[in-house]
Structures are given as C-alpha cells and as structure tokens.
C-alpha cells in the first residue's frame, strides 16, 4: 500500500518502497510502502509483533530490509543520513553507571561538526534537573525514558523515531512529552512514533498508520490539536 504523497517527491523526508524484512522464515514486514512528509507526525499503531519497531529500526538504518528500498533524506542507505536521525528505543540506550548529564555529554561529543544542544538544556527540556547527582541506574523508568528523549533531542535531528516513548511514564509526564514533541514538530521536523496509547499521541498525530501482521492496514489523517 502506497500512501498518497501530498507533496512533490523531493519534499519527502523518508520513503519505504515495497520493503519486507525477514528474520529467518518469519516476515516482520511484508511489502510495506509508505512516504513520510517533513514537518508531520506519524503515529504507528498495531498489536505486538505487527512490525512497528522493525519499521522504525529500518528507518534508523539499524536494520537492512530483506527486500525493497528505503530512502531517507535522499540517501538510499539510511545509515548515510544517520546524524540527521534521532532514534529512541524501548531501552534507554544509556549507561547505568553515569549520571544523565555525563551520558549526554558523552553522546554530544560524538557529533563532530553538528550544533548540538547543551546537555543541561536538553535535560531541562524534558523536565529533568541537570544538577541531579545520581547515576542513571538509580533513576525511575520514567526518568530514564525522559533522559533517553533528551539524548535524542541533543543532536537536533530532523527525523525523530520514537519507539513507545510513553511507556513507563505517568500521565502528566506523558502529556509534557507530547507538548515537547508538538513544539519539535512545529520546527518542520518529522516524528514517527509507535504507541499502544493512541489517545496520548492523538493531539499531535497528523497521520495514523496502522500495521497488521507486517502489512500496512490503514493510513488515515489524524486530527491534531497541538
């Protein structure tokens, strides 16, 4: 299923063309074709095992499709555009033994030549205190999740891929995160996020993409309010 492109092809931020992904004999994605426009927020829905995380990992360049073609920012290999992509997984992708600020300083140093946010500023943006003198291992799951988002925001990516960003978060923290993402989207940046909590992401969803058994079941316009 090819999503109708509303704008010229050159304005497409990322495109999957007939992409399938096999893990052994199991097909996690089956002939998925979809285009992601800049400045829009796509909410990916689907039951467990529908292929949402696999789709995000392919867009991030962490997985290669078994068949089909992926283009991100005009690059046939998403990996080539990796410094323009921010990816947040279920796991925090940070070191337990370091503080939040140490973790962020570490990752900020690995983006030479890219104007990164100051680690303390990124932490403030997600509602964390940069002065907190605790290692990440002593954080709650929700705080780790926010630190993980701060890591992603650090490099000011143009394409934000978020896998279950609201999991382990209380309702108020999740709402704050949605507001932050709304602000991020207004800066002409693209967000693709997976969630099981559709109502939480609804205020920023320009499109709702539903996957079922590795296929695109539907792609509907959302009704964003933020």
């Amino acid at each position: 299923m090819i999503a109708p492109a509303r704008e010229a092809a050159s304005s497409v931020c990322a495109r999957l063309d007939n992409v399938s992904k096999l893990f052994g004999s199991f097909a996690a994605l089956r002939q998925v074709s979809v285009e992601f426009e800049p400045g829009c927020c796509y909410v990916l829905l689907g039951e467990n095992g529908a292929g949402k995380s696999t789709l995000l990992r392919i867009l991030a360049g962490l997985l290669r499709p078994s068949f089909g073609k992926v283009t991100v920012f005009g690059e046939d290999e998403p990996h080539e555009a990796r410094e323009r992509i921010g990816y947040m997984s279920h796991a925090p992708m940070l070191y337990d033994e370091l503080t939040a600020e140490e973790n962020l300083c570490y990752f900020a140093s690995l983006y030479p030549g890219r104007a990164c946010l100051a680690p303390a500023e990124a932490l403030r943006q997600v509602g964390l205190d940069p002065e907190l003198d605790r290692t990440l291992g002593q954080y709650s799951q929700g705080m780790r999740q926010r630190t993980s988002l701060a890591r992603v925001l650090l490099s000011a990516p143009e394409l934000l891929l978020l896998d279950e960003p609201f999991s382990n978060m209380d309702v108020e923290s999740a709402r704050q995160m949605v507001e932050l993402l709304a602000h991020f989207r207004h800066g002409s940046r693209t967000i693709v996020l997976t969630t099981h909590q559709r109502e939480l992401a609804a205020p920023i969803a320009d499109y709702v993409l539903t996957l079922h058994a590795g296929r695109v079941a539907s792609l509907e316009p959302g009704r964003p309010t933020q």
């Binding site: 290669r64 990796r82 796991a91 940070l94 890219r114």
Partner: protein, 222 residues
C-alpha cells in the same frame, strides 16, 4: 588522539573507576592462577625459572578473557550500542578506545601481580630485566586487541563467552608462544629474546591494523 577516541576512553575509564568490575575479577582470577600453579609445581630452583614465563602469560590470558567477555556487556545491556551505531563518529575509534582501556586494566593487574609472582616462584632475573617492560605490554596488546575485536564479533551469539575463547585462543597462539619464549629467555638469560620480541611487534601491528579496518563492518552488522 581524536576527540571521539578520547570521549570513548574517558567514558570507559570513568565507568570502571566507579564499578571496578573488570579490575577486581581479573585480580582475583590471575591471583588464583598464580597461587594454584605454585602449589601444583615445586616453585624452587631452576625449574621455576623455566615455567614462570608460561605461568605469567597464562595467568594474564585467562584474567584478560574474564574482562574481555564483559567488554561490550554494558553496550549490549540497554542497547547503548545502537545509539553508538547512530552517531557519525567512526566505529574504529570506539574499538581503539576499548582496546586502550582494557590494555590499561590488564597492565594494572600485571603491576599488582608482579611482586607476588616473584615471591611465589622465588624468581631472580638472569637476563635484561628492562626487556620485560617491552614483552609484557606487547603481549598484552596482542591479547586485548584481538579480544576486543572478537568479543564484538561474538556479541550477538547466545554462547558468546564460549565463542570468544574458541576464536581468540587459536589466533593468539603465535603471540602467546612469542610472549612465553621471550619472558623465559629474559628470566633465565639463556637465550636472546630479540627475535620473539620482533615477532610480537609484527603480530601487534598486523592484527591491530586488520581489526581497525574490519571493525566498522562488525560493528554495523545486524
């Protein structure tokens, strides 16, 4: 030294300083090997001079493997490696930083172990003692440079700890042989260790270069 290399190295040193995981496990393990061998063999007389080089190298090797098995554990635990794969900094710098950090840890263990080693085996150096300061770092580098590379290669395997030993030990044999022969030659003073030291140096250069060239492929593999 580039900024990314220093960043990775500083991070590894900071984490080890806080946890002491690698150092403590290596110290206990190598200490046990030295004590057990001193019980198994009579540590008096000329015989101890003959076997001491081998015992030191084997103790270093087994102790290093216990740390090498954990070298990428923190990167795997919370998918930190995925975040590292997404940054534009070259993977080779991450590899080199890991090698440097682990080389430092093993060297610290060797320095702590050395006095006990000389006491347990009643050693006196008949050859040129300063050459030990060349042989041990070269041998340690050979072990760690290969170990970090193969640990990354076996990281996605369920039996990664077994797999690392199975891949690493056969490849390390030439360096182990050179390290043992050179150390024994220095301790006994009966032969010239120069050839073995050259072999170690050549081994280090070749395997470090190959690992640096191939690491990005291993690092970015699914």
């Amino acid at each position: 030294m580039t900024r990314a290399l220093w960043t990775h190295l500083a991070k590894d040193l900071r984490i080890e300083w806080r946890s002491l995981d690698a150092l403590v496990s290596m110290l206990f393990f190598s200490g046990l090997v030295v004590v057990l061998f001193s019980i198994a063999f009579d540590p008096r007389g000329a015989f101890s001079q003959q076997i001491a080089g081998g015992v030191l190298c084997v103790a270093t090797m087994f102790a290093s493997v216990s740390a090498l098995n954990q070298a990428w554990a923190r990167e795997i635990r919370h998918q930190v490696m995925d975040a590292q794969r997404m940054v534009p900094a070259p993977g080779a710098e991450l590899y080199l930083a890991k090698v440097l950090a682990n080389f430092l840890f093993v060297t610290i263990v060797q320095i702590i172990l050395a006095p006990f080693f000389f006491i347990f085996y009643n050693l006196h150096i008949a050859g040129q003692a300063w050459l030990l300061a060349l042989v041990l770092p070269l041998g340690t580098w050979a072990l760690v440079a290969n170990g970090i590379f193969f640990a990354a290669l076996s990281i996605r395997s369920r039996n990664r700890e077994l797999l690392l030993s199975l891949i690493l030990f056969p490849i390390f044999i030439p360096a182990l042989l050179a390290m043992v022969q050179a150390t024994t030659a220095i301790l006994t003073g009966e032969s010239d260790p120069t050839l073995w030291i050259k072999l170690l140096l050549g081994y280090d250069i070749i395997f470090t270069t190959v690992s640096l060239l191939l690491f990005d492929v291993v690092f970015h593999a699914e």
